[in-house]
């Protein structure tokens, strides 16, 4: 348990960075986890394709809020193209703690909201989150790898 709730996670939870909202932001996006009610809103100002200001608002568990707080730090000054290239694995690596399957949605909500706002690929919509073809392909790949073919 100490592995999951590291000091810096609790620190971001209790004192989130870039917390708040922007007046008339260039980009605003918000979403919730329908199952548990975690809520994140992200505001961005952008100039020449680069983030100049970022704020987030939200409520939810330590994992979801720390993830959002850390993500806003990470994306200051980044280009939108760089942000679109962010993957769920990047966010899990950023968190630096092991997130079990039950908590993945909490950890990745902030990325989902960000990508919804900037038109990135990880919007968490059914067609990219639960695509059975992708799953079948991944499974086939895994079987190939494990069978040593």
């Amino acid at each position: 348990m100490d592995d999951l709730y590291r000091q810096y996670i609790l620190d971001h939870y209790r004192e989130p960075r870039n917390h708040g909202s922007l007046e008339q932001p260039d980009i605003h996006a918000a979403d919730t986890n329908p199952l548990c009610g975690d809520r994140i809103a992200i505001d961005l100002n952008v100039r020449d394709g680069r983030v100049t200001e970022v704020r987030f608002n939200g409520r939810g568990c330590a994992i979801s809020q720390a993830s959002a707080s850390m993500l806003t730090e990470k994306i200051e000054d980044a280009t939108l193209d760089e942000l679109r290239a962010l993957t769920p694995q990047d966010v899990l690596d950023m968190l630096g703690v092991e997130i079990g399957p039950a908590r993945q949605r909490c950890a990745l909500l902030s990325l989902r909201v960000l990508h919804q706002g900037i038109g990135g690929p990880y919007t968490g919509r059914m067609d990219d989150d639960d695509d059975l073809d992708d799953e079948a392909a991944a499974q086939a790949l895994k079987e190939r790898d494990s069978s040593g073919v």
Binding site: M1, D2, L4, Y5, L10, R14, L35, C36, G37, D38, R39, R59, G60, C61, A62, I63, S64, Q65, G100, A102, R103, C106
Partner: protein, 414 residues
């Protein structure tokens, strides 16, 4: 701290009847405190379902062959067990559905579609589960009917003065309320509420998802008009639920169309089967009905009075243990007026984090809004953690919960 009677410290049902309780989670014995979401199954239920599938399974109401006759007898026999369990007058008053949600949707669509007009009022309460709110929102949008809500007090009980006033001012056609809150454990005085509703000409639907598994429920004594509940919360399988209704069923139009619910079908019109099959279109959850029949046998053997007494004793104990955890807030009424459910928050620790920490100690609790977002709004909280108890729960498991909560305080440096 008050100590429990020794008989109350142990489980009411033999724990060895529940195979899953023998397993470990994260190297710790499983402490399953989420029965309000779904109950674990005794081997008697699991065996009844397996035996049925192995020896008598076929589709029902179809063939003239032996298997289909046996399957039909098992399926209809389970219906009779359920009818007796809730003291129905007639076995035909029991309609199989998938779950409580489908039962309420059936009433909203069939009864509501035929009887609600522009300006009619359906009276709900602020402690309802989404399944007793959303179906009414949908039918209200279709018919022009309006929804009104009985407010909940700060203490988690339905405001009875406001209820009496709302009956007078709103003159609802239907009152749809829970018999036990899945979040607060509140047990509203439904018998009195039903009589008051009838006095102004309103029908009453009871959401029995939490009450039927945990209390003696007698539809004749209650005098309600509809009762909805689920098999999976009362030791039975998922996929089978019940709508009990009395005379209204006769006049209600079908909900879903298809096989088994018809008498005669021609290309442009059909006539309907008798009750209850008029409301059971398509091949139903046959094995699951048999499983629910076995679950009802199991609960009846324990005695529903004893089930309720066991859970009240555990709840009283849990409220004492939880009160001793610093920074912890419990929501809802005192033990004597609540079922076996405790929702709480601990300091600034979000419920999901609590659930994860407790899971690591082997303790399974529910975290979230419990499908009752309006109620969460009412208390200005995003989520709670919820521990709920059943026939296999012991006081020692509540001790494990309390220890897990102390550990959570340490991790979050409260």
């Amino acid at each position: 701290m008050k100590t429990l009677e020794p008989s109350m410290l142990a489980a009411l049902a033999p724990r060895e009847d529940f195979p899953i309780l023998a397993r470990e989670v994260h190297g710790k014995p499983l402490v399953y405190l989420d029965s309000a979401a779904s109950a674990q199954k005794p081997r008697q239920v699991l065996e009844a379902m397996e035996n049925f599938q192995r020896t008598s399974y076929a589709n029902i109401h179809r063939g003239a062959y032996t298997l289909s006759e046996e399957a039909t007898a098992a399926y209809e026999g389970a219906r009779k067990k359920v009818a007796r369990f809730i003291n129905a007058r007639n076995v035909r008053e029991v309609v199989w559905t998938r779950n409580t949600t489908e039962s309420i949707n059936l009433v909203a669509n069939s009864w509501g579609g035929a009887n609600l007009k522009v300006g009619d009022v359906v009276l709900l309460s602020e402690i309802e589960h989404h399944s007793n709110i959303v179906p009414w929102q949908l039918i209200a949008a279709r018919t022009g009917a309006r929804l009104a809500y009985i407010p909940v007090t700060d203490g988690g009980e339905l405001d009875q003065e406001a209820y009496a006033r709302l009956l007078e001012t709103e003159r609802p056609k239907l009152v749809a309320v829970t018999q036990m809150s899945n979040v607060l454990g509140t047990l509203p005085p439904v018998r009195e509420m039903i009589a008051q509703a009838h006095a102004v000409g309103a029908l009453v639907l009871l959401d029995g998802a939490q009450s039927v598994p945990h209390l003696p429920v007698d539809v004749r004594a209650l005098d309600c008009d509809f009762l909805a509940f689920s098999g999976h919360k009362m030791l039975g399988p998922s996929g089978i639920g019940v709508l009990w209704a009395r005379r209204e069923l006769e006049a209600m139009p079908p909900f879903l169309g298809g096989g088994d619910m018809i008498r005669e079908v021609s290309l442009h019109s059909s006539t309907w089967n008798d009750l209850p099959w008029k409301f059971e279109a398509g091949t139903p959850a046959i094995t699951e009905a048999v499983g629910l029949g076995a679950a009802v046998d199991y609960l009846s053997a324990l005695g529903m009075e004893q089930v309720h007494a066991h859970e009240q004793a555990l709840t009283a104990y849990a409220l004492e243990r939880l009160a001793a955890v610093p920074d912890l807030t419990v929501y809802g009424p005192p033990a004597e007026r609540r079922g076996g459910v405790c929702s709480f928050t601990l300091g600034d620790i979000h419920a999901h984090d609590l659930a994860t920490i407790l899971d690591n100690a082997g303790v399974a609790v529910r975290a979230g809004h419990h499908c009752a977002q309006p109620l969460m709004e009412r208390y200005h909280i995003p989520a709670t953690a919820r521990a709920s108890f059943y026939v296999y729960t012991t006081a020692a498991e509540i001790d494990a919960l309390a220890e897990g909560l102390m550990q959570a305080r340490e991790i979050f440096a409260l």
